[in-house]
Symmetry: C2
Subunit: 206 residues, 2 copies
């Protein structure tokens, strides 16, 4: 309990920050607000994390890693290419369902402050290095054997991320413009999970 109490607020601030950064992005979230959400005074936010930037980076790098985790996790499973591809899409989609604001956070911060991102790159170097290389190799092999059509890895990943991410990114837009409600969106999401798999599998076929 003491140990708990010790890390209590430090952790609480981190979690409050996570919620708010995901909701509104870096620029529109103030440390005052984070403190209020965490139930402490504003000074404490800086006591534990020194600057808003440092606090943000702690949240952000975890989230960025999470976004790409689907690709890394499935890559280690032993499955035929087509099944592996299906799994990647599904795992990625399910992760987004649990973290629906994640695409927004990534887009917002990579777009408005690419500089802040450089430090994050270090933490997700696993992806670019080992995993991407392995995926590329597998993809090339499939193409060589004529089991799928000629396609670049970056094109494939972009398709997955665009189709999966688009659903979550467009949610507020569809809500505002077409007046789409939560229930209707849920039904749409349910359809899209299978459809995205289908579309991508179809798209890599000869």
């Amino acid at each position: 309990m003491e140990e708990n109490k010790n890390t209590n607020l430090e952790q609480g601030i981190l979690e409050a920050a996570e919620r708010l950064f995901l909701e509104k992005g870096f620029a529109m979230t103030s440390t005052t607000e984070i403190a209020k959400e965490a139930g402490c005074n504003q000074g404490l936010v800086h006591y534990y994390y020194r600057t808003k930037e440092k606090l943000f980076e702690e949240v952000f790098s975890k989230k960025a890693e999470l976004f790409f985790s689907a690709f890394m996790n499935v890559e280690n499973e032993e499955l035929p290419f087509r099944e592996k591809l299906r799994r990647v899409i599904e795992v990625h989609f399910d992760m987004l369902m649990k973290n629906p604001r994640l695409p927004f956070l990534l887009i917002n911060e990579f777009t408005t402050n690419p500089g802040r991102v450089l430090s994050v790159k270090e933490k997700i170097k696993n992806l670019p290095e080992s995993v991407l290389a392995k995926m590329e190799k597998e993809l090339k092999e499939e193409i060589r054997c004529g089991r799928i059509r000629e396609i670049e890895l970056v094109d494939l990943m972009l398709m997955i991320i665009s189709l999966n991410g688009g659903l979550f990114i467009a949610k507020p837009i569809m809500g505002a413009i077409m007046g789409m409600g939560e229930e209707e969106w849920e039904r749409l999401a349910k359809r899209r999970r299978d459809e995205n798999v289908r579309i991508i599998l179809q798209a890599v076929e000869g």
Copy 2:
């Protein structure tokens, strides 16, 4: 020249605001910055547009309309469904090529401030009302005749927007994570234009 001089700064401020809002979004752009970019003092921004919000809305509603214009423009052309669909995708894509920051602006503002968006809805009501209904009717007819598979209009539009928009949205991310440069991105974009058409046409087939 006088007339020009008259609207000169008013227009100049609007254009400066447009550039900056597209670059950094509403929250991260200050009226001081807009004034500097427009080459006048900060007071003038408020003289012409009263509040930052009003100035933003002027920019935003134009841009939101532009984003959906592809759907409206092509809808009026007389073409068989499949050709019309191809045209929509291509016209939408080409518009994004000319306005690469547009998807970011829409996402950012619809997500962080859905309230501000309500006033915009008025201005793009053309889409929801006449055009969407017409598209829906055509789509239903194609399905009824068995020329394409069963699909909802919203699914189709989401696919188009996700695939086309994703390329532009992911640009800074790919730049930061994979170190993708401008030239490489251009080549990718060239491929994606045709691929997106192909994928979507394939996806609506039986």
